[in-house]
């Protein structure tokens, strides 16, 4: 692989200037940055609601907010975090930026559709933001009927419309990635030479395409019900509210795999780089991604064990849910085997990745608890569930996002983030996270229900610990939000491959030029082969 010269051609950040050149760009790298703006803004919004929730929960009585307001807080926290941060974050920011670079292409298959995806996402976000500003929505992010369809007095349709619209952003991204990975790989880059990040995004794209339309139609039906009272989910008119749950979770369970699969892709890349080894069991990890995508569609009923669903269906869903844990566990074993006898260094991305492995394992194991029908009857709708999904979503997906952002930051911007500060921040995030959410497992098991802001006095100590943890976690996030932009101006300039990683993206300039490669590279080696990696020592 020949290394292109960074000299003559301007990078994708230069060349064209001005707002129009960004808002009308067709360059996947600029679009990735547009998404970075969007997801960061929505993360702040979702985070603000989290702050308010944790403040309220410092005391056992509902003294900060009325119940109706509290309902809006956790609803909006969930909606913004899930639909406007977690789902797009890694695929739309890192995936958009890196996929063509990783496969030796000049852009995604459909650049104009890529830009359209971003606009659709932002319009969707605006609708939901409008709903928030107009008074919010209080149904919970899960919009269960018949409350959402008949009785809620809040801005259900506006909020749901925002989600409906941004769903198409997801679908189009999935379509783009699928076509790109099939057709734009460089010569010599066979499927089994692809970085595992690419496999992960392929599997994610399958879920996006197969699952997202179902929530679109579900939202449509809720809107129709709300506007016309036709009875689709209203038991008084013959409808079944549990049908909503089936339709909703058919997408929303695979959705969590949309959130975690790209994160797993990041982890594979980071672990390989900072162990100086190829990923152990490459093919197994690749197939596990696909297995998670497929099996993930068969388990949605585990959210409905106590909803009135048939107990026989519950047993089937429980068994299938045990099965889906297997490929995830397989990945954890493979990452561990990659670490074994590796030459390990502890740069910030690696700290996030190591944290991921531990926290995702805990999150995943507690998922098995929840998949066990009899246990779930006891802990359903308690803080046990809240802790479980925050372990996988924050301890997992968010940590991976931060790790990936740091790992590819020098590539994206040509600047190094401040390493020591980043490592300290990673530790702060890890400690803060655990202090926030470990007590919640205990709270849930002891019986504290979720979505309540009033609780028995004996739960206060654990809640105070959780809020304390949340402030530390928040501090960690704020620190990255501060030094990352700082580094754009004041960070050390980065070379092509500051971490000595294998992968086509590291052969380009930092930041890459607009068309990525001088000439289409030809791939001869396997993935993660280190022979041609140019080590650039940096302090």
């Amino acid at each position: 692989m020949s290394a292109p010269h960074a000299g003559e051609r301007p990078s994708y950040l230069g060349g064209e200037y001005g707002l129009r050149s960004w808002l009308l760009t067709l360059d996947h790298k600029r679009i990735g940055l547009l998404y970075l703006m969007g997801v960061s803004a929505f993360f702040l919004v979702g985070g603000a609601f989290a702050v308010l929730i944790r403040l309220e929960l410092l005391t056992p009585s509902g003294d900060l907010f009325q119940s109706e307001t509290y309902n809006k807080l956790f609803t909006l926290h969930g909606i913004f975090m899930i639909f406007f941060f977690l789902l797009p974050s890694i695929p739309a920011v890192l995936g958009n930026f890196l996929l063509p670079l990783m496969i030796g292409a000049r852009d995604l298959a459909f650049p104009r559709i890529n830009l359209l995806s971003w606009y659709i996402y932002m319009v969707g976000g605006l609708f939901t933001t409008y709903a928030m500003l107009a008074g919010g929505v209080d149904t919970g992010w899960t919009f269960y009927t018949p409350y959402s369809s008949t009785y809620a007095n809040s801005h259900v349709i506006a909020a749901a419309l925002g989600i409906f619209i941004s769903g198409f952003s997801s679908i189009l991204t999935g379509v783009n990635f699928i076509a790109t990975i099939h057709k734009l790989r460089a010569p010599g880059l066979t499927w089994f030479r692809l970085p595992l990040f690419v496999w992960a995004h392929y599997a994610t794209s399958l879920i996006m395409v197969l699952g997202t339309p179902v929530i679109a139609i579900t939202i449509l039906l809720v809107a129709v019900e709300r506007l016309f009272h036709v009875g689709i989910f209203d038991p008084a008119l013959g409808g079944d509210p549990v049908l909503f749950q089936h339709l909703f979770w058919f997408y929303s369970h695979p959705a969590v795999y949309i959130m975690i699969l790209p994160a797993m892709g990041v982890i594979s890349e980071v672990i390989a780089c900072f162990s100086r080894k190829r990923v152990f069991g490459y093919k197994i990890v690749a197939f596990s991604s696909l297995a998670i995508a497929v099996l993930g569609f068969l388990v949605w009923g585990h959210h409905m064990f106590v909803s009135g669903q048939s107990v026989y269906a519950g047993v089937v869903f429980s068994l299938l849910s045990f099965l889906v844990a297997i490929p995830s566990a397989v990945k954890v074993f493979n990452w561990t085997a990659t670490l074994y006898r590796g030459s390990i260094s502890f740069e910030a991305p690696m700290l996030y990745a190591l944290g991921f492995i531990g926290l995702f394992t805990i999150g995943g194991l507690t998922g098995i608890f929840l998949a066990t029908l009899a246990v779930d009857v006891h802990v359903h709708d308690t803080y046990f569930v809240v802790a479980h999904f925050h372990f996988v979503m924050v301890g997992g997906a968010v940590m991976a996002y931060l790790g990936g952002l740091h790992f590819w930051w020098p590539k994206m911007f040509g600047r190094l983030y401040p390493e020591m500060l980043a490592r300290v921040t990673a530790v702060i995030v890890f400690v803060g996270f655990n202090l926030t959410f470990l007590p919640q497992f205990v709270l849930g098991y002891l019986g504290m229900p979720r979505r309540y802001h009033v609780y028995p006095d004996e739960f206060q100590v654990l809640n105070v610990l959780s809020t304390a943890g949340a402030s530390i976690l928040g501090l960690g996030f704020l620190m990255s939000a501060a030094y990352l932009p700082w580094s754009l101006r004041f960070g050390k300039k980065a070379g092509r491959n500051p971490f000595g990683a294998a992968g086509l993206e590291w052969t380009t300039a930092s930041p890459p030029m607009a068309h990525n490669f001088e000439s289409v590279p030809e791939v001869q080696g396997e993935a993660y082969e280190r022979e041609h990696v140019e080590e650039e020592l940096h302090v």
Partner: protein, 219 residues
């Protein structure tokens, strides 16, 4: 006449690669459309299983003769669309545009008939939530059938409208010589979309109109 020229985007190495990528993209898009309507079919399935009487009775209110004729019209539009794609494949831009025009006419015919059916439902007060006054003795769950009838055929009709707009655009381009033997992808993708719209109706028609149809066709 204007020249036809193949437009190769900068990030593709060959027209073949570009066409194949577009084909995969279009099919991936159709897969999500299948799942979109699939959610509605699932809802139909559940309520049909739960309330078979209501569905049979609701179906009896639908005009079988008109529905059958409309199905034939849509199938005809699929034929004209397929012939339009074939014309584009052969580099015959104007012929392609004419076939697309025929498809648009047939599509409007279909929508016209649906409009007549909807108007008739309005008259009989069979639109749940909007104008609902079924006759006495009607099944208590008739609203579920008609809610699904309107949402499913409504979504289908919306997809047809989008298709008509796209057909007009593509027909204009075909007439202007935009497509050639090497570059007819836009027409092909449009064809795929239109055939998908036909596929949805192929299933909607029996499921809505022909339930326990041994009673004679009602108007």
């Amino acid at each position: 006449m204007s020249e036809t020229r193949a437009v190769l985007a900068h990030h593709f190495e060959s027209l073949e690669q570009q066409n194949e990528a577009a084909a995969i993209g279009m099919w991936a898009f159709l897969v999500q459309e299948v799942m979109f309507f699939g959610g509605l079919f699932t809802t139909y399935l559940v309520y049909r299983v739960l309330h078979p009487g209501a569905f049979a009775e609701g179906s009896a209110h639908l005009p079988v003769a008109l529905g059958t004729a409309n199905t034939a019209v849509l199938i005809g539009s699929s034929l004209t669309m397929a012939l339009g794609v074939r014309a584009a494949q052969l580099g015959r831009g104007r012929q392609c545009a004419l076939f697309l025009a025929a498809t648009i006419v047939l599509a409007f015919a279909f929508l016209g008939v649906k409009g007549v059916e909807y108007a008739e439902k309005w008259e009989h007060g069979l639109i749940p939530g909007v104008r609902w006054s079924p006759e006495a003795g009607a099944d208590a769950r008739l609203n579920l059938f008609f809610a699904l009838y309107f949402v499913m055929t409504g979504c289908h009709a919306l997809h047809m409208l989008v298709g008509i707009v796209l057909m007009a655009i593509v027909a204009g381009r075909a007439w202007g010589g935009r497509y050639s033997r090497a570059n007819f992808l836009g027409v092909e993708c449009l064809g795929l979309y239109w055939h998908f719209v036909d596929l949805v109706w192929i299933f909607l028609f029996p499921l809505l109109y022909l339930l326990h149809g041994h009673r004679g066709g009602h108007s």
